[in-house]
C-alpha cells in the first residue's frame, strides 16, 4: 500500500514535471524557430541589400569603365594611329592607355568584328571578337558593357567606337573578374562572392572567395537555388542570392547562417538555463505539492491499516480544510462508530461471561462497574452445596439422553433460583451445585438468602423428584449450608477463568450436603444462629464429619416461618 502511494506521489510529480518541461520545451523550440526564421530573414535582407549595392556598384564600375574607355578612344594620337593603320604604334598606344586606366586588357576591333590588337595576346590578330553581341550594342549607339568569359577568365568589357569623327574601329577595355576582385568585394560587403557562368548547361565557377570544395558544391547546387535560397556548403547552411550580372554570368552572394545565428547563441544558452532552472524549481514545487497531497492520504491509509488490525483508538489528524480534511473527519467519525460498537459488544460479551457466575443483576453491575470486585480477597461467606441422591447410580444405568434431559430439567429448575436470590454460582458438577452469598457483592443477610434459596430449591426439586419417581427413577435431593471465611478470587488461565471460593467453609457445606438425606437442608450452627428467627428447624446434633477434628453441630431446616414483612423476599424478587 505504501509503495502504491509513493507511486501515486511520483506520478503526481511526473505529471507536473512533464507538463512543465513540455511547456518549457515548446517555448524553447518556438523561440529557436523564431530566432532561426528571424536570422534567415535578416540574412536574406542583408543579402538583398548587399546585392542591390552590388548591382549599383557594378553599374557604377561599368559606367566608369565606359567613360574611361570613351576618354581613351578620344585620344587624337590613337585616332591618328588607327586611321593610318599604323599597327605597331596603335598597339603601343593601347598598352600605354591600358596602363593609364589600370585596365586588365585593351583591344581594338575592326568595324566588322575582328580583333586587331589585344594587349594580352599580341599574336591574336584577326581572330573574331569574343563578344559580337557587345559590338552590335555599340553599333546601335548604346553603352556596350557586359561580363564576358574569355578563356578561363571573366572580364567586364566596355566597347566604344573610335571616332574620326565617324567610327573607324572599336576600342574595348576590360577588367578581369578574378579571385582577387571577388576578395575585394568580400572586404566591401563581408559576404562570400562567387562568379559563375553557364557552360554547356552546367555552371562553372570563374572567381570566388570560397575554397575549392565549396566552389564545386556551389557549381553543383546552383541550378537548384533560385534568386534566393539555401545551400549546404562546408561551413554549414548558407543563404545565397543569385544575381545576373550580364550575359550568362551570375554573381552569387552567400552568408553562412551560423554567422547570423552566432549573436543568438548566447541568448539561447540563457533561455536554456532559465528553462533548466524552471524545471528544477518545478520539480521541487511538484514534490512539495505532491507530498502535501499525499501525506494526508498516507495518514488516512495508516489509520485504516490500524483499524484493520483492530485498533479502534485511531484518530487521524489532517489539518487541511479541503476534501481530504473532510475525508479524514468522516474517517474519524467512522472509526468512532466502530469503536462504540466494539465497546458495546465487549460489554455484552463480558456481561454474558459474568452471568455465568453471578445473578444477571450482579453481572450487569459488575460489567458496568470495575472488575476489582473479582480480585483475590478473603471474606465471610455463606456457602450452599446441594446435589441429587442416587444420581450416580441412575447415570450409570440410564441412557445418556435420559441423563442429559434430567439434568437439563434439574438445572432449569434450580438455576433461576440462584439468580433470584442473588447468589453467586460457583460451579456445576453434574448433579451438584455450589452457590455462595456475600460475594463478590456484600449483602446484609447472606445466611438468610442462602436458607431461603435452599428451601425454594428443595420445594421446586421435590416436584421434579415426584415426576421422576413416576418415571421410575428413584432420586433424592440434599442440601448443606455453612458459613465462614474463604479465600475468593479468579482462578484458571487465559481463556478459562472461574470465580472460586476456597476454604473450610466450602468443605463443610459439601460434607453437610453429603450427610443430608433426601429433602434435608443441613446447616451449621452459625448459619442457624443467623436464621433462627426465620426458619422452622430441628437440631440434628453434633455430627462427626470427615476432615473435621471435632463434631459439628448441625440443624435441619424444615421450612420458612411465615413473615409479616418480607424485605429479603422483595429483594429476592427481580
Amino acid at each position: 500500500m505504501g509503495v502504491h502511494f509513493r507511486s501515486f506521489r511520483s506520478r503526481l510529480v511526473v505529471v507536473f514535471l512533464g507538463l512543465f518541461a513540455l511547456i518549457q520545451a515548446a517555448g524553447y523550440f518556438a523561440v529557436t524557430a523564431f530566432v532561426r526564421a528571424s536570422a534567415r530573414h535578416t540574412v536574406a535582407e542583408e543579402l538583398r541589400l548587399a546585392s542591390t549595392l552590388f548591382a549599383r556598384q557594378l553599374d557604377v564600375r561599368t559606367q566608369q569603365l565606359v567613360a574611361a574607355t570613351r576618354l581613351l578612344s578620344g585620344d587624337f594620337a590613337l585616332k591618328t594611329a588607327v586611321a593610318t593603320s599604323d599597327h605597331a604604334t596603335t598597339a603601343s598606344v593601347l598598352e600605354n592607355h591600358r596602363q593609364r586606366v589600370d585596365a586588365d586588357v585593351l583591344m581594338l576591333a575592326t568595324l566588322d568584328g575582328r580583333v586587331v590588337i589585344d594587349t594580352q595576346r599580341p599574336a591574336g590578330q584577326g581572330a573574331p571578337f569574343p563578344a559580337p553581341r557587345l559590338l552590335a550594342e555599340a553599333e546601335a549607339g548604346r553603352d556596350a558593357s557586359d561580363v564576358v568569359a574569355i578563356g578561363p577568365r571573366l572580364y567586364r568589357l566596355a566597347v566604344v567606337p573610335v571616332l574620326a569623327p565617324e567610327p573607324i574601329a572599336w576600342l574595348v577595355a576590360g577588367f578581369a573578374i578574378d579571385d582577387r576582385a571577388a576578395a575585394d568585394l568580400r572586404r566591401l560587403s563581408g559576404l562570400h562572392v562567387s562568379f559563375l557562368a553557364r557552360r554547356d548547361g552546367a555552371f562553372v565557377v570563374y572567381a570566388s572567395t570560397l575554397d575549392a570544395a565549396d566552389r564545386a558544391t556551389l557549381a553543383r547546387a546552383l541550378p537548384a537555388a533560385r534568386a534566393a535560397g539555401v545551400l549546404d556548403l562546408a561551413g554549414g547552411e548558407h543563404l545565397v542570392r543569385v544575381e545576373p550580372v550580364g550575359g550568362d554570368v551570375v554573381v552569387v552572394l552567400q552568408e553562412p547562417l551560423a554567422e547570423a545565428l552566432a549573436p543568438y547563441d548566447h541568448m539561447l544558452l540563457i533561455l536554456l538555463g532559465v528553462a533548466g532552472a524552471g524545471v528544477v524549481l518545478a520539480l521541487l514545487g511538484a514534490v512539495v505539492v505532491a507530498r502535501r497531497v499525499s501525506r494526508p492520504v498516507l495518514t488516512l491509509a495508516g489509520g485504516a491499516r490500524r483499524v484493520a488490525a483492530g485498533d479502534f483508538s485511531v484518530a487521524v489528524s489532517v489539518p487541511q480544510r479541503d476534501e481530504l480534511g473532510e475525508l479524514a473527519t468522516t474517517f474519524n467519525e467512522m472509526v468512532g462508530g466502530l469503536r462504540e460498537r466494539e465497546r458495546v459488544r465487549d460489554e455484552l460479551e463480558r456481561t454474558a461471561k459474568l452471568k455465568r457466575f453471578f445473578s444477571p443483576q450482579l453481572a450487569d453491575a459488575l460489567s458496568a462497574g470495575d472488575e476489582s470486585l473479582l480480585a483475590s480477597h478473603r471474606r465471610q461467606i455463606t456457602v450452599v452445596f446441594c446435589d441429587l441422591r442416587g444420581f450416580t447410580a441412575f447415570a450409570e444405568a440410564a441412557d445418556p439422553e435420559q441423563v442429559m434431559r434430567l439434568l437439563h430439567e434439574y438445572h432449569a429448575t434450580v438455576g433461576p433460583l440462584v439468580f433470584a436470590n442473588e447468589g453467586t454460582l460457583e460451579r456445576f458438577t453434574g448433579d451438584g451445585l455450589m452457590v455462595f452469598f456475600n460475594d463478590p457483592v456484600e449483602c446484609p443477610d447472606p445466611a438468610a438468602r442462602a436458607v431461603r434459596m435452599a428451601v425454594a430449591m428443595r420445594d421446586a426439586v421435590a416436584t421434579l423428584l415426584a415426576e421422576w419417581r413416576r418415571r421410575g427413577h428413584a432420586l433424592g435431593f440434599g442440601t448443606g449450608i455453612a458459613m465462614g471465611e474463604a479465600t475468593i478470587g479468579r482462578i484458571g488461565f487465559e481463556g478459562r477463568f472461574d470465580y472460586a471460593a476456597i476454604g473450610t467453609v466450602t468443605n463443610l457445606s459439601a460434607r453437610l450436603c453429603q450427610e443430608a438425606r433426601d429433602g434435608q437442608i443441613l446447616v451449621s450452627e452459625p448459619v442457624y444462629a443467623e436464621v433462627e428467627s426465620l426458619v422452622e428447624a430441628k437440631p440434628v446434633g453434633a455430627l462427626p464429619l470427615r476432615g473435621f477434628s471435632r463434631p459439628v453441630v448441625v440443624f435441619d431446616v424444615l421450612g420458612l416461618r411465615p413473615q409479616p414483612t418480607a424485605p429479603a423476599a422483595s429483594a429476592a424478587t427481580p
Binding site: G74, F76, A83, T84, G141, L163, A164, P165, E166, P167
Partner: protein, 218 residues
C-alpha cells in the same frame, strides 16, 4: 542601277551632237525608301564622252557655334577650301579620309593657306576638341552638281545638252555612289528630271549634349 550604268556607258555618239544644241537644266529629287525628302544629298552629272574640266572657284567651310557649316560642302576637284573659324575658341580640324588627309591644328580666325582638294572623294571632317563636330567635303570630278535642300530637290543649271550620268551621294548613304548611276539626257528648254530613292544609315553622329555655353549661345 548597274543596268542603267551600262546603258549610260554605251550611249551612242549621236548624243554628243545634242551637246552643241545649247545648255539645259536637270531637276533631281532625292527621297528615302519611305518617301521622305533627303537633304544634303549631292547630285552630280558626269559624261564619259566629255572631259569636263571642273571649275575651281574657292569655297568656304565655316565653323560656327562649334558646328561645321555647311554640313556638306560639294566641290569640284582642285577647289581651294578655306576653314574660317567664326567662334571665339580654337578648333582643331582634321581629316583621316584617304581622298584628303590634313590637319589644321588649333587655330582661330581664318588660316593663311586654304586646303586644296585635288582628288575626288568624300572627306570626313572632324574637330579634335569637339567630338560632335562633323563636316563633309565631297570632291567631284565634274562642275555639274547640286546639293538637295530640305525638300530633297536640287537643280543643276546650264548643263550642255546631251547624254549624262547622274549620281547621288550622301554622308549616310548605305550603297556606293557608283551604284546610283542613272543616265539622263539634257536638252535645251525643258529641264530633265531624275529621281533617286536612297537608303540611309542611321545618324550616328556623336550627340552634342546641351551645355551652359551652348544654351547661352542658342
Amino acid at each position: 542601277m548597274a543596268a542603267a550604268l551600262t546603258a549610260a556607258l554605251t550611249l551612242p555618239s549621236s548624243s554628243l551632237t545634242a551637246v552643241g544644241a545649247g545648255p539645259g537644266d536637270l531637276e533631281a529629287i532625292v527621297k528615302d525608301e519611305r518617301g521622305k525628302p533627303v537633304a544634303d544629298a549631292v547630285v552630280s552629272l558626269t559624261s564619259p564622252a566629255t572631259a569636263t574640266r571642273p571649275r575651281a572657284s574657292p569655297a568656304l567651310m565655316d565653323q560656327q557655334n562649334k558646328e561645321f557649316v555647311p554640313l556638306v560642302l560639294p566641290v569640284a576637284v582642285g577647289t581651294s577650301v578655306t576653314f574660317p573659324n567664326r567662334d571665339n575658341i580654337r578648333h582643331h580640324v582634321y581629316s583621316f579620309s584617304p581622298a584628303k588627309r590634313f590637319e589644321l591644328p588649333l587655330y582661330i580666325g581664318t588660316p593663311a593657306a586654304p586646303v586644296v582638294f585635288d582628288k575626288p572623294g568624300a572627306i570626313v571632317l572632324g574637330c579634335n576638341i569637339h567630338d560632335w563636330m562633323v563636316g563633309y567635303v565631297y570632291v567631284l570630278p565634274t562642275p555639274y552638281f547640286a546639293k538637295t535642300a530640305e525638300d530633297g530637290k536640287a537643280r543643276i543649271a546650264d548643263v550642255p545638252a546631251g547624254a549624262w550620268e547622274s549620281r547621288v551621294w550622301h554622308p549616310r548613304l548605305r550603297t556606293e555612289t557608283e551604284k546610283t548611276t542613272t543616265p539622263v539626257t539634257i536638252t535645251a528648254g525643258e529641264p530633265a528630271q531624275v529621281g533617286f530613292v536612297v537608303t540611309l544609315k542611321p545618324d550616328r553622329r556623336p550627340i552634342r549634349r546641351p551645355t551652359y555655353e551652348g544654351a547661352q549661345g542658342g
